[in-house]
Amino acid sequence: MFRSLFSRAVKLVVPFQIPTLAKMIDDESKIGGTLFGDLPKGVERRFFMDDGNSWFFSETATDPSTRQTLYTYTIRYEVLPQGILKSVDGRGHVFIKGVELQRLLDAMKLYEQQVDKQIYQAQTAKSDRRSAA
């Protein structure tokens, strides 16, 4: 009961935080990370577009018992006029093609749909309710 009263009080005291672009992209990246299926315990995945022309896929695995990082890597896909340039941790730059290109485009489309549905439509509805109240 105390906890419930406390959380109600916190909601009254803590003001509505206006989101920043950084926060929006961070929220998007979490949704993006869910588009590629289930993850084993201790693995964090993010997928997102920055505010320029690059997309990022990153994965970090942490040992749940020791909290030590087991591996981490970042794939950057840069959209350039002549194609989509891929690099892994800044190395091995190559224009992608075939299945990888098609899957990336599918992931981009899905990302747009899900981000729109889970963040922007939901937030807009919230703000509308807030301004109507």
Binding site: A22, L80, G90, T124
Partner: protein
């Protein structure tokens, strides 16, 4: 001709090592501060990832895009650009609507 520093009678190798270590730590600290300042406005893992990845750019890669603007774009690139434009427009429209925070 001046004698090399290590042959100077007042030369203290321990002190020199400490001074060098101090210098390295200070240099490292300054680099971290610069990186920290760059990231100060950014929050969250996503932008950290983007910032880390942008350290590994091909020199001139940014230019290659604009330099090749006249080149024909591939259909895949056009699709990716269109999706990107829509997402950016949605983000900025939303932030304009709510008034972007600090």
């Amino acid at each position: 001709m001046t004698a090399p520093l290590q042959h100077h009678p007042d030369f203290d190798p321990n002190h020199a090592q400490t001074a060098e270590a101090d210098f390295r730590i200070r240099q490292q600290h300054e680099q971290q501060q610069q990186a920290g300042a760059m990231l100060a406005e950014l929050s969250g893992r996503a932008l950290q990832v983007a910032a880390d990845a942008s350290q590994f750019r091909i020199p001139g890669a940014e230019l290659s895009g604009s330099a090749l603007q006249g080149n024909e774009s591939t259909p895949e690139t056009m699709t990716a650009v269109t999706i990107g434009d829509r997402i950016r427009a949605r983000r900025h429209a939303f932030l304009a609507q709510v008034g972007e925070g600090q």
